[in-house]
Amino acid sequence: MLKQIEGSHGVAEAVALCRPEVICAYPITPQTHIVEDLGALVKSGKIENCEYINVESEFAALSVGIGSSAAGARTYTATASQGMLFMAEAVYNASGLGLPIVMTVGNRSIGAPINIWNDQSDSMSMRDAGWIQLFVEDNQQAVDMHIQAFKIAEALSLPVMVCMDGFILTHAIEGIDVPDQKQVDKFLPPFVPRQVLDPEDPVSIGAMVGPEAFTEVRYIAHKKQKEALDLIPQINEDFKQIFGRDSGGLISTTNTEDADTVVVTLGSVIGTIEEAIDEQDEKIGALTIRSFRPFPLEQIRSALKDAKRVVVFEKCFAVGIGGIVANNVRMAMSGTNIPVYEVIAGLGGRPITRKSLHKLFKDAVKDNLEDVTFMDLNKDVVDRELEREHKLIQAGSVAENILRDGGVVNAAKTT
């Protein structure tokens, strides 16, 4: 049924349709509306037979989820940003124990400086944690991907993160086709755990593994993710059969076949990029990575094989080296001699404007880009701060100095 609703509300309705049995809720902006809506759905009886638990931290949120999933309950939680870091230990534990928990990440930056707005640093901080990581482009996909996520998680016995841009998607009101319960029940059978805590058949879960077997255990985790490269498109096909929409899979492409330049990206920014591409004359294609973990090396390589250049446009970066997605794309492109440029943009919620994109495309098609570009970087402010730091041992807080230089704060002069 078509509804004009907020992204978070859509996700809550999608999760409800998946008949979750345990939901752990802890507030953190910008995912909070999701767990709020789920709370109301459980309390009103619209989600039947479900325990909704208000926990005391994100670490507890995922830990309670680990307990309930290990005891055979279909389990959901959501987080973002600092919350993701606070639960980091449990994030690795959930995948190590092979528990098919589904977690929404309302993508947000990580501090300090504290910042509540969107980028994708939080999901990226857990990219090596052994979870399946799926990124969505719009709220229809957010709804559909959650339904697919439970199926993927339970088929692989691995946890899945559905990553959606904070505010841009979580707080955006769009028309969403919310599936009906019959369709979802047909697509998603009840959860049958591979291993479960049961007094009739006692097992010990989470034993200590030494050097004699640890490598093999880790290798199998890798192998299972690789197998997911086949499974994720299959489940998307099943989804298409029932719901008539292509919402998942590994990647999606627009005009990559005859484009000299292809922009590669993750998440909702593809909407802005496609509009900006349409507004200019260069032959530019776009590729969106929907499954970041597992990373579809071959599919990306094949989709980009005829490009003259690749521009990876990402809302995150690894301090001290550069783009995270770009590094992964370079691995896909190794040996091809196709240059891969990286553009870091939208950090901490900085708007990504069509004007800046047009300039970027103009530079890109002339190969007039640095290896790493920070889009819309205020060089004057940066230079002034660096100069101050080089001169003075005590230059005060970088963030506050920059706010002052930028005219945002009219504070006392620096020491």
Partner: protein
């Protein structure tokens, strides 16, 4: 035939033989059909108090729940010595996740049992004092305030023994640990630090809190049995001497547990909904020296009159506070 009133100290050891008692008062541990939940073959040190405590508590809980029990274990000695992959000493469903989240895992398992309509299956979370009073404290307090249907058992050996005997917030004043060495003018652990988690648990007004000691099996088993007869969040802290960490002879483990209680160092009590409802009286009071002497971690305290009297003061305060002596 009327049974004679048997006092548990009649044999002089507090471990009165089952044969003197009528059937319902016999210990679970003393019966042939105990569950052996923590089975033989594990890697605990000789004289490990935690292994005894866990075995007593879990077998009792198994009896009380008709063997429908799931245990969630914090990282620590108990986890490491019972489950070296691919072996396990646990004959019950058991899960280890992390150091600081055993209580939250318990909450999750209990929630799953509820939605599955298996509320006959009961949940225990357990850990050492480090995993309980320090790193696991947030999750523990959360489980308490939500009144989740979990019995949390803390095996209190007063330090991080698994990592090589470091101080925890349960380490007593004066004790030598690897991070509170007996050097300087105030040797060992500071006297003005640490926390009393049983009392903090009571401040959450949860249905049941108790302290127990491995030297008195009847008392310990009765407390676990009572805990399992109640729904909601429950907390039992069991005093479990650690020969390795305390520098005591393995054969002294049970004796040290007894001396801790009889000196007033470790008060045994029960609390329900925030009120203390019973205390275990000291039968024959002993000076704290008797308890300290067999432990190398206190060797310097015995030579330091100020520290020694500080320890005695703690014991005396406990005796006053909890009314541990018969009037």
């Amino acid at each position: 035939m009327a049974h004679q009133q048997v006092k548990f100290y009649q044999t002089g050891t507090l471990t009165v033989g089952n044969r003197l008692l009528d059937a319902e008062n016999r210990t679970v541990q003393g019966t042939m059909d105990r569950s052996n939940s923590l089975d033989s073959g594990h890697r605990a040190c000789q004289g490990c108090g935690e292994a005894l405590g866990a075995r007593y508590a879990i077998d009792t809980a198994m009896r009380a729940t008709d063997n429908k029990l799931i245990a969630c274990n914090a990282t620590g000695c108990l986890e490491v010595f019972t489950t070296p992959y691919p072996e396990t000493s646990w004959t019950i469903p058991w899960i280890h996740s992390l150091f600081g989240n055993a209580a939250a895992i318990g909450t999750g398992v209990a929630a799953a049992m509820k939605v599955k309509g298996r509320e006959d299956v009961r949940v225990i979370a357990q850990g050492g004092d480090g995993g309980t009073t320090d790193i696991g404290f947030g999750c523990l307090s959360g489980m308490f305030e939500r009144n989740d249907d979990v019995l949390y058992i803390c095996y209190d050996n007063q330090g991080y023994m698994n990592t090589g005997v470091q101080r925890s917030s349960a380490t007593p004043g004066g004790a030598r640990t690897a991070t509170t060495m007996p050097v300087g003018p105030e040797p060992g652990a500071d006297f003005d630090k640490g926390k009393n988690v049983p009392l903090i648990a009571m401040a959450h007004e949860i249905p049941y809190v108790a302290t127990a000691s491995i030297d008195r099996l009847h008392d310990l088993e009765a407390k676990v049995k009572k805990a399992m007869s109640i729904r909601g969040a429950r907390y039992i802290q069991i005093f479990v001497p650690c020969p390795l960490g305390w520098g005591s002879a393995p054969a002294q483990t049970v004796n040290l547990a007894r001396l801790a209680v009889e000196s007033g160092i470790y008060p045994l009590f029960e609390g329900e909904n925030g009120e203390i409802t019973s205390t275990t009286k000291i039968r024959r009071k002993v000076p704290v020296e008797d308890y300290l002497k067999p432990q190398r971690r206190f060797a310097h305290v015995l030579k330091n009159p100020a520290q020694l009297s500080a320890v005695q003061e703690i014991a005396d305060r406990n005796i006053r506070k909890f009314g541990l002596l018969e009037e």
